[in-house]
Symmetry: D2
Subunit: 406 residues, 4 copies
């Protein structure tokens, strides 16, 4: 793509060092107009200061938006209906926020007449893929500028030098001040990569973690919690109705206080290498456990098993950046189809890193039938003799094969 | 099956109330000779006393066997190579012991010239299916007597009355003395069903649990542990080589002390109803976490993902009793094929119910390459420009579809 | 189930020998009122005569219904959206008609106040399962009488004797007159089992086949056909709009004339044994080929591949009788979600047993882009250099693994 | 990759126009030594002339090899054990030959001390991916030169001009003389792309097809054939033992004479676009049909169904070029594990494009049991009453769900 082919670019802009350098670099190298887009997806930092910074950089069109409700309602909640976990451990906190950003970038490009978008994801990571597949899926003609794949500012030192040279103010308190880790945060999680994590044998330092207390420092008393589900989504905590983003924020607060949701894993990136990441997902960890418990009471066995078989594929799609794809939509249709009956209440106990289910009920949709499951006489609810035929016909093919061997 | 068609039956015999009644009932109702088979699969009770009891009941052929090593080596370990979990929660502790018992029953029948086997599993549960599918798969001509599906002794009271009437001694201390729960135990786990668990909204009492301390009562200091893997199996703890059964016993001991491995779930039985069960699987919980961590470092991404997709099916097969089936063997072949490289050491921290991975390494088989994964300049190990083509071709189909829409 | 517990039963009644005997047997053995239900699902026999026969047997409530449109629209068409094939060969002709019959039996039971239903499927086949799972799924309290599993009239001779004894008229021309095969037919197919097919090494006689000419006797000239698809369903033949049942009837007629759609297979029944069946599915064979061709032009690659992976499971569900189940509905939701774009026209050539696709187009939904696929220069529609990065990143994990080995 | 970094390159060389130009271009542009490698994989052209041409071009190290047996034995046969079909239609004829070529290129590079390999596949197709993934998987350090992605000779005219300019002799009779199609052939198939196929609505001309007669021109008499299977592979035709390559060659000859194995499809390439291809796979089409028939008699139901579910993934892996990958090896282990019992004979009838199975038998491994499958009384081989319990327990979950609704 020729650089002077770009007239106007929408930049995903945090106001931190990296995207401030990118802003300047786009102006210089592409000579094009830049629109900044700063989103609050619950990363826990003020987005308002981005305005002054963008203005200082000469930006005319500045978008600053609170996307927290849309993020949880349209992305996090649908994903949790699938009980999605990547590689047995990762709750996809970073992955699920990227398509929303991609969507707004493309929409803002349309609104402002921009022909390109740009982002600050590096050339080795998954996020570049997620941003760009999302954007291409929504607008096949969009141009995408990924400065980390183009420039030679491939270290923090070079970035700092570029910033100094071009008069870009660097606030030490922003962007994970003093933290040696590469971090990402949104309402679902905070992640850490790099630095001492690059040796998978080394345990990270205690002060790396930011959202959760160390389980050892968590309260000595468990806390009970009741979560109300409606069609697979949590709609109330301890009986108090909340919006999706309120639910997640509150579960983060409570879970974090009890040391819940830490993960330290080696994962496989879509771009082909293994990397080590640490994650804190306090609210999500609680949601997953509770959702499975609610399903255990209300969901049909075969639907549940089919969901379990499809889940790894679904999680992989999200991890790889295919949220806006026919195959993700196809799987979502299957998943959502099952959730109409996932209604009721789950009781949990939180204690020093543990989420324990201690009760689940559903007035309308329970499939648990005490009269059938009981060990005592059941007054005819279940004919034990049926089991004989059930076993014998299921065994028939094995017996015929056994005769062949014998 | 006509009752006088049976000449000799091998009974899975614990010496407890149920199987003692069955022994008598078989003698009376079938008028056949009974061979008793009592196995130590690590249930934590003495098996020796079964001999005296069987002799007292007039049994001539008495088999008492220690199957612990075979159980862990040939059943538990292969299953853990698959990271098997049923319905997201259950580590299949009961399920995996049944095929071994079925195998020995059939083998002993061959050795003793018996034409039938018998077991004490009820007509509503999964175990009858597991015993019988296993037996039929190994000997298609075997006859199977399942007294619980034939008799009318369908409550504890009736059993006790029968025992009293026939002079069967009932030791109150055996078979979970005073416990109101229906329990099963082996080296992998102990399970609880029935009683107050029949209401899934009710939390079981603190004194139900037997193998693990309450996390609240676990030590205030974490314990570190290093597990050595060879071809996917744990072969040493903290550098000390152990047999499979020794590994599992030791992990049970350590895990139990730290309150690890409790589960309280509603599960779907193969015979069609939901039931609530509580499980303690301390060693297995540690093994699963550690095995995933070892694989995360050494296993190829696509092999790992395929394993994850096949796992629910594999777990379902074991849960449903199809260990001795062509489809389980087919999946096992695929799983085992991947484990040659799963070698190395995983470091864990155990603390009040938590199993935390804090390090993993493999001198011979690590696929983690710091020079590629690093955030800093990598001296050419990875060409960031490659990502552009990677993304653009992966996006091509989405873009063509986008043009159709637009 | 106690026989005098049944007050009124709805019988799936063809008027042939088997169900005439059943009617009488129900009256005699159960002493209950019988409602007859005779459906035209396109089996190619008059259903009207069933009325007189039922009346002659003293039946007061007689249902005779033309279900052909409902059958094709609500059962056959949804199934073909999935490209369903059982075990690589069988187009599920019998399987897909059973749930509709079950549904009407249950509905008529509700309308007439009957507490039971009955059918003429044998105790070794799949159809009993399909009828009964369907019925139980729709009305959990329904009673089901399966005479073949209860009585001892287990051969044609005994049935004939019973009929003679009870004055049941046997028309030699009905029910596959003179045919030695067990047959089933509906608008989708006709099937043959039994007789010389019981030896899978033996080729059936030429005169077994009824719906299709032998390919050797088919016309020497091919016939062209254009099928119009709308959302995955065929809505017109050679430009002429037709209802679903009209489409299938017409394709049967044309396909049969060209010797299309014969299959001779050994299949695995749900009840555990292998059986040999021969099938004629002329219209269905054409539909499947055409539907795949229409999808090949309009469906996204990954959606298509996911459909292919889910298809065997979906086909198995239908074969096994789980049409009315949460898991089938879940898969159907996924499948249907993909079909909105399956619009266009497919051109076929039929010739002596062959269905050949010779063209496919879609004005609105083609994803085929000549400018990208061309072997000649494409004026920038596709950057060949992108392939380098695509390959290199896809190879990265393999290369890292190669270094480990080397 | 810097061009002067390459010292010696092994070129997959046919002696035709494209690879002759590439040879020259490599010498000129890379200034490196070239080793030619010409393989007979059954493409039906003499490979010997390649020697003289290579010598004329100044090549010192010339490899000409007959790989037909290795191709069929180690690639085609394992693939057919899986019943592999890509997108419901394509028998993977081109895909399966590429990894073998890649393997020999890498091996010859090692033998000759070459540091690079090169091939003539274009930048839009799948073959570049298959060659390069295969090569990288076998030697992670190999350099790969793909001239079609580097040069600007992007049309046939430019190639011809380059050839003329550099004195490269162009034989009109080679490389599909006068054919306007892009073709590829090996012992499994011949393929056609481009030219009038670029409009998927247009039927290709009758004279495009080369290996099979038009079904209309095929013999009016069917031909019978008996294929003997051993562990899933065909080892004899009509009782005559043959090597794998002999089997395939003979089936190609017979099938081609009967017009068998034509396919005209739109497929999804791995690089992201749809393309239209025509294929002739006469022997493969017969093999697939026969293999399924042999399995239908000898393979367990659940193993067969699991194979069917895994097959699309397996086929996709081969299509995409992942033959030498952990995930393909994992699936192969599962597939091969099932084939020990796939022994016996299948009888087929070939007639004007049709392959009809007319019989199958296995003296050692048949699971077909007439006494169980029969419609007549079976003297107790199967207890029809068992079906009641089988159905009732399978229905239990549906009934409980029905009660919830009701």
């Amino acid at each position: 793509m020729s650089r002077n082919a770009v007239k106007k670019v929408v930049l995903a802009y945090s106001g931190g060092l990296d995207t401030s350098v990118i802003l300047k670099w786009l102006q210089q190298e592409y000579g094009c107009e830049v629109v900044t887009f700063t989103a609050d997806v619950g990363q826990g930092e003020e987005v308002a200061p981005a305005r002054a910074k963008a203005e200082a950089a000469g930006i005319k069109e500045i978008y600053i938006e609170d996307l927290r409700e849309e993020f949880v309602r349209d992305f996090v909640y649908p994903m949790f209906r699938a009980n999605a976990i990547y590689e047995g451990e990762y709750l996809l906190g970073t992955s699920i926020a990227r398509p929303l950003i991609a969507k707004r970038l493309v929409e803002i490009a349309a609104e402002t007449g921009a022909d390109a978008i740009s982002h600050g994801a590096t050339g080795k990571g998954n996020d570049q893929v997620r941003f760009e597949l999302g954007a291409y899926g929504l607008n096949p003609e969009i141009k995408i500028i990924a400065p980390w794949r183009e420039w030679d500012l491939l270290s923090r030192e070079k970035l700092m030098a570029y910033a100094a040279e071009h008069g870009i103010a660097i606030e030490q308190k922003r962007d994970g001040s003093k933290s040696p880790y590469s971090m990402d945060a949104n309402l679902l999680h905070i992640s850490y990569e790099g630095y001492d994590l690059e040796d998978p044998w080394v345990e990270p330092g205690r002060d790396m973690w930011r959202w959760t207390v160390d389980p050892q420092d968590a309260p000595d008393q468990p806390q009970e919690l009741a979560l109300t589900f409606s069609r697979g989504d949590i709609t109330a905590i301890d009986g108090k109705a909340m919006t999706p983003a309120e639910v997640l924020a509150e579960l983060n607060r409570i879970g974090g206080a009890h040391g819940i949701g830490r993960a330290d894993i080696v994962e496989n990136r879509y771009v082909g290498m293994k990397s080590r990441g640490c994650y804190e997902t306090p609210g999500g960890t609680i949601m997953l456990k509770a959702h499975r418990a609610m399903e255990s009471l209300t969901l049909d066995r075969e639907a549940a098993h089919l969901k379990d078989e499809l889940m790894p594929r679904y999680a992989e799609l999200i991890y790889n950046g295919y949220w806006f794809s026919p195959e993700r939509e196809m799987l979502q249709a299957a998943i959502d189809q099952t959730q109409a009956v996932v209604n009721g209440v789950v009781r949990l106990k939180l204690y020093k890193g543990n989420v324990m289910v201690v009760g689940r009920k559903s007035d309308t949709d329970s499939l648990f039938d005490e009269s059938i499951a009981t060990f005592e006489e059941d007054a005819g609810a279940y004919d034990q003799g049926d089991a004989t035929g059930f076993i014998r016909l299921n065994a028939l093919r094995l017996r015929v094969a056994g005769r062949r061997k014998g």
